[in-house]
């Protein structure tokens, strides 16, 4: 720790005792980053930005929100109508939640395509899946807070899933509700947990970044960096590149917030919760639809719940399902085809999750669910054995130099 590298004496004095400036300097200048990262590597910083926006707007919203079944809906309307710029804060919170999931889904599929989950980054990947799970729990509880029709019935359907657990299921559901139906105790604990969880996420994000900095970013070629010729400093190269992503993200977010604020929500949530009246179709928020489709594809309740959680469970063991030593799909012709089939499959599941569970929709949802698990449990292990991968470049600088020279 050489405090001498800072010219400002105050900075030097502080850094000698509390090396925050050395840490920043290390991250910005010494931390080597592969020089060939494309724009798909922007989604990590964008997810971090989303989390910050959610926490800041959420804290402000909590100042005017009332967690009580008789007042919650009215307090949200109060925010929308009477709190200064309350409508803006709430619309930002609502829409950033959706954007957070868009960004994280792209981040996950980036990792899948370039094999970012492979050794030595298994724990980095697993921590990411943990964040994803925490995000889903947080988003679900947040959607309950306005206490609209979809809030109430979504909460009823999802918490009821736990009743599928043999023997103790019913007791667990009563415990979750704090009573014998979704009611005031449920709303109160969901508000409490919804406020807590983002900070838990922030903690896991720190671990995620620590694990990332251990070996540095993976890259589009998927081979390790071989030396200084393969890397550049994070600042200014990736700070400026991240800012380009931030600008585009904020632009799209602004379009949603200011011109289509309710497009990703459900109109029924502007109807106050009514336990005596079930909506025609209970649908969760769009980002849960693929999992909702898997849940409903199975005729057995417990089986559906197990498969739904299993869909995320397979992500935890993914590093050991795909044993191919080649990371990037660029050098795995077969894997690349199956990757895009998985993308189509996931989108199809999302589409089917928003449809009523009847007729051909159920059949298609079953096929798509089967394909999802087939991909992870059969195809990936098989590919690791049978696939002929293309030869890898010797280093990152080699192909980069080749493409900047004559046409390849």
């Amino acid at each position: 720790m050489s405090a001498a590298k800072f010219s400002n004496p105050v900075v030097r004095w502080i850094d000698h005792r509390l090396p925050v400036f050395s840490m920043l300097d290390h991250t910005a200048h010494e931390y080597p980053t592969p020089k060939n990262l494309n724009y798909m590597w922007n989604f990590g910083s964008l997810a971090g930005l989303s989390l910050v926006i959610m926490i800041v707007t959420g804290i402000v919203l909590a100042m005017s929100y009332t967690a009580h079944v008789d007042y919650a809906f009215g307090s949200v309307e109060r925010i929308m109508r009477d709190v200064n710029h309350g409508w803006l804060i709430r619309y930002i919170h609502m829409n950033t939640a959706s954007f957070f999931f868009i960004v994280v889904y792209l981040h996950i599929f980036r990792g899948l395509y370039y094999g970012s989950y492979k050794a030595p980054r298994e724990l980095l990947w697993i921590l990411g899946v943990v964040i994803f799970l925490l995000m889903m729990a947080t988003a679900f509880m947040g959607y309950v807070l306005p206490w609209g029709q979809m809030s109430f019935w979504g909460a009823t359907v999802i918490t009821n899933l736990f009743s599928a657990i043999p023997v103790v299921g019913e007791s667990i559901v009563t415990f979750l509700w704090g009573g014998f139906s979704v009611d005031n105790p449920t709303l109160n604990r969901f508000f409490s947990l919804h406020y807590l969880m983002p900070f838990v996420i922030a903690g896991v994000v720190v671990l995620h970044i620590v694990a990332l900095h251990r070996f540095g970013s993976n890259n589009p070629i998927g081979i390790d960096t071989k030396g200084p010729q393969d890397t550049i400093s994070f600042h200014p190269y990736y700070t400026i590149k991240d800012i380009v992503g931030v600008a585009l993200f904020l632009l799209l977010l602004a379009v949603a917030v200011f011109f289509y604020p309710n497009a990703m929500g459900h109109p029924d949530n502007y109807i106050p919760a009514n336990p005596m009246q079930t909506p025609a179709h209970i649908v969760p928020e769009w980002y849960f639809l693929p999992f909702y489709a898997i849940l409903r594809a199975v005729p057995d309740k417990l089986g559906g719940v197990l498969l739904m959680f299993g869909a995320i469970g397979v992500l935890f063991i993914l590093p050991w399902l795909d044993r191919s030593p080649v990371r990037s799909a660029r050098f795995r012709p077969l894997f690349r085809i199956f990757f895009w089939l998985l993308v189509v499959d996931a989108v199809a599941l999302g589409y089917l999750g928003g449809k009523p569970a009847e007729g051909s929709y159920v059949v298609m949802a079953r096929i798509a669910t089967a394909w999802y698990f087939l991909h992870f449990l059969v195809i990936l292990p098989a590919l690791s054995i049978f696939e002929n991968t293309k030869p890898l470049p010797k280093s990152i600088s080699e192909p980069v130099l080749a493409t900047t020279g004559e046409a390849v």
Binding site: M40, G74, Y105, P220, I243, L251, V255, F258, L289
Partner: protein
């Protein structure tokens, strides 16, 4: 790879958007008549004259059964009324206040800070007076239905003769815009139901459009501010995007 990813992202967004719209549309064979609303689009704004007429329709036609819980008299300033006019409008209503020093609740004329009083004391009274059906509160109705304004307009103009194959039960009415077609609300607007001070047309379509305009404002009173800020925000962020991209190109120029 990058291009494919971008294309896939677009496709994903498109599909989720379509499925959202599809699920919102709901029950099959209902009529939805799209209208040209002044508040639609990026530069959308409310038409004050239309809102004032719509408010009159609400007062003279809808308010007998439907509450407007989240709207206060003071909010009517958005419709172009001045303070004195709002005070006069509020004073036409009676609201309960109290308790006074004797511990009694009492009725007094409403003030601008009060919200519109409900026509019924509670939901049960509302049902008892409406054949068992509960007239919904109208303050959010334009956002609480898919394609809100177009839906409201279609519903209000959707009372037609039932097809001969359909038998309409006692106390129900046939409406081709309502999911399932059987609605408990009798036809509220026939044309010439109100007399407008400004001499605007009073056909059933015109009255329905005016009251829909008013209800959209009731549901989304900050729409004009929102869109105005939105135009500035999008303009600013577009410049920011271009500048940051150019800066990125400059910084990366020496990387090979």
């Amino acid at each position: 790879m990058r291009k494919v990813f971008v294309a896939a992202t677009m496709a994903l967004l498109a599909v989720t958007g379509i499925s959202g719209a599809a699920q919102a549309a709901g029950g099959g064979d209902v009529r939805l008549e799209k209208q040209e609303w002044s508040f639609a689009g990026v530069f959308g704004h409310y038409d004050k004259a239309s809102m004032q007429r719509g408010f009159q329709v609400y007062r003279e036609v809808c308010a007998g059964c439907h509450s407007l819980e989240y709207v206060a008299f003071r909010n009517l300033a958005d419709l172009g009324y001045n303070e004195a006019e709002i005070k006069a409008i509020a004073a036409e209503y009676e609201v309960q206040d109290g308790p006074d020093e004797d511990g009694e609740m009492f009725m007094r004329p409403a003030r601008p800070a009060d919200r519109f009083p409900s026509p019924y004391a509670n939901d049960n009274q509302a049902r008892a007076n409406n054949n068992g059906a509960l007239p919904p509160d109208l303050s959010l109705i334009a956002k609480a239905r898919a394609y809100g304004p177009d839906y409201l307009y279609s519903l209000l103009t959707g009372y037609v003769e039932a097809p001969s194959s359909v038998s309409v039960p006692e106390g129900m009415y046939y409406n081709d815009a309502y999911s399932g077609h059987m609605i408990a609300m009798p036809q509220p607007i026939y044309g010439d139901d109100v007399t407008y001070a400004d001499g605007a047309p009073t056909s059933a379509q015109a009255i329905s459009a005016d009251v829909t305009h008013f209800l959209m404002w009731a549901a989304e009173p900050k729409l004009e501010t929102r869109k105005r800020i939105g135009v500035a925000a999008v303009f600013f962020l577009s410049i920011f995007l271009i500048m940051s991209y150019l800066a990125k190109r400059r910084v990366w120029a020496d990387v090979h």
